[in-house]
Symmetry: C2
Subunit: 356 residues, 2 copies
């Protein structure tokens, strides 16, 4: 979809507002699909099944969906997720909805693609806790029903059952997780009643304050960049406010932890604002509990501005207009392992750790 400069005349609740010209874009119906991983029905079904299968976690209790819940806003509404052995992560689970529109994945952009991302949590000891991808694949190959699903998803391949193909399938499913037709999208497409007067004021405020300099584009996560080229910004840009300590904003150095470069300290991938009203608490560490406080913190730390309560309320109203339409999804049937379970009855990693 082409972006276009819009000058819209909104008419809601009797008020008529002019929404300032900005690069307002509706969400494209579909994200771009990598040439080496075309979407097929069989692949998406396989990916969905893997996404919901808890057997690829050490104790058989957590699936991708446990922390990135597609029945809600695509995250877990927690400051941080809870992994194996009651472990807490340092960072808040990002939403999976519209993740396909990012040009890099994870808060620190350490994965270029959804395919790369999908391999991470499975083998993270504080997330799904498999020792490595081989261990996960060893579970998978014990589940007979997956074999024909991989064959159907990757036809013509001699050995379709692989971690790379599992990641491709999960990515293909995730590329279906898009939420078009938010009130904002309908407004941008010309339905001037889709956003009410307050939301239109908030839209103006959002642009005037300068939020759009980072939260740009159809996904409100920055300009369109080649896949693998993350769009990063420093957070906080303006240090020294009381928020730094209150919300522990400087504890985690962000992308610097991946690259080791001083220039990357406190650099973070700019997150989407689509469905942001549904994904509290906020920021990389989930330290801010409400959207209005998140808007205040952003204005102060990124733009060095203090907002009035009315401005905050307007922007929050606008951001609520970014909650889209969620597609209906049929639950997958997880293929069976008749007569036995592939989940070990004892916890081998924990036993090993306790023995240390």
């Amino acid at each position: 979809m082409k972006s276009r400069k819009l000058l819209l005349m909104g008419s809601a609740l009797g008020a008529t507002l002019v929404v300032h010209a900005a690069d307002w874009q509706a969400l494209p119906e579909k994200p771009s699909i990598p040439a080496d991983n075309p979407q097929t029905e069989a692949k998406v079904l396989l990916g969905k099944t893997l996404y919901f299968d808890p057997r690829f976690s050490e104790h058989g209790t957590l699936s991708c969906n446990s922390c990135h819940n597609v029945m809600s806003g695509g995250d877990d509404n927690r400051p941080n997720s809870i992994g194996m052995h009651d472990a807490r992560g340092e960072r808040s689970a990002p939403t999976v909805w519209n993740a396909a529109y990012y040009s890099s994945q994870f808060w620190d952009g350490r994965a270029a693609t959804l395919e790369d991302q999908a391999k991470g949590p499975v083998q993270n000891p504080i997330e799904m806790g498999m020792a490595n991808l081989d261990e996960a694949m060893s579970r998978l190959t014990q589940i007979p029903g997956y074999k024909p699903m991989f064959a159907a998803a990757f036809p013509g391949e001699a050995n379709p059952v692989s971690a790379d193909n599992a990641a491709k399938a999960v990515a293909a499913f995730e590329r279906t997780l898009v939420t078009p037709n938010a009130p904002y999208d309908r407004f941008v497409k010309g339905d001037t009643s889709a956003l009410d007067a307050q939301q239109q004021r908030g839209m103006n405020t959002f642009a005037e304050l300068g939020c759009t300099s980072c939260h740009a584009g159809a996904n409100f996560s920055g300009p369109a960049l080649p896949l693998g080229t993350g769009f990063f910004m420093k957070f906080p840009t303006y240090t020294g406010s009381a928020y730094d300590a209150k919300y522990h904003l400087l504890d985690d150095t962000g992308r610097h932890q991946v690259t080791g470069n001083a220039a990357d300290e406190h650099m973070w991938r700019v997150p989407t604002l689509r469905n942001v009203a549904l994904t509290a608490p906020y920021f990389h560490n989930g330290s801010v509990l409400t959207l209005d406080e998140a808007v205040r913190v952003m204005a102060k730390t990124q733009l060095n501005k203090e907002l009035s309560d009315a401005q905050v309320a307007d922007v929050v109203a606008f951001l609520n207009g970014l909650s889209g339409e969620f597609p209906e999804i049929a639950m997958p049937r997880l293929p069976a392992t008749p007569d036995h379970s592939v989940i070990p009855p004892v916890d081998p990693h924990r036993q090993a750790n306790l023995a240390k």
Copy 2:
């Protein structure tokens, strides 16, 4: 559905077998519905939504479905489930599929109905870990989208949002979780090719050994009894085998823990065998890892019989014929709490416990 004595002539794989007359019954299409909780579409949708909503657990991480997974065999394929704070339960999660055909709920029958059962795990400290039902309802009433759903599910009620109605809705959803048309059902209805020769031999063996004296009726969980009248049996009936110690069969006194009556020691509700091939590991403590071993243990402890490998294989083949057709289920959308989360950012119970 009427039960009927059947004398079936099976013809599979070229073999012709006569299946012994027994009270073989196909699964009724629908379970009986309590007069005070009729099924409606709105109620089932509400119940399904509650069933999948993790916000009624202390940390917002576990829903009913976490341990009773309807995408698989209706349990979690673990010896015991993992609750809040990495707690392990003493008993293995029973399958939710066809639970509606039981005349009592839980391994020890301590709940008469699905409605009663639904209130248990939410407030169990080692399961979902809410302090009590009031705390769960306090979360629920903070989620605005539930209010119209309760109103639609319980029309005409002045205060439809209540724990009792939540439990009714969950029970109504669970009464849709039935798996008809297993190969066994089709066989009983006259499709003599639905079970193969080995399965038919296993069906005979199952009856001849006496398994049907407890695992009777359409649900293989005992005779039809009035709701609230559980069908219990002693396990192990024949003590003294090596299995007692090997599988810790005497550690948990079962129904005795509910009633305190010596006569109830080691009495257990007879579990359904429908989909049993999908619900390993086995028994109340999940101590037996495979279905063939479970068949051996049952024969020894309940019937004082040692089975040949061939008999075990035949019975296991028959039990695999009890895996039914699972209905397709659309995922619910969990109603939102825009701009904030109802899950506390810190863990108040744990903080309180640590402070003790």
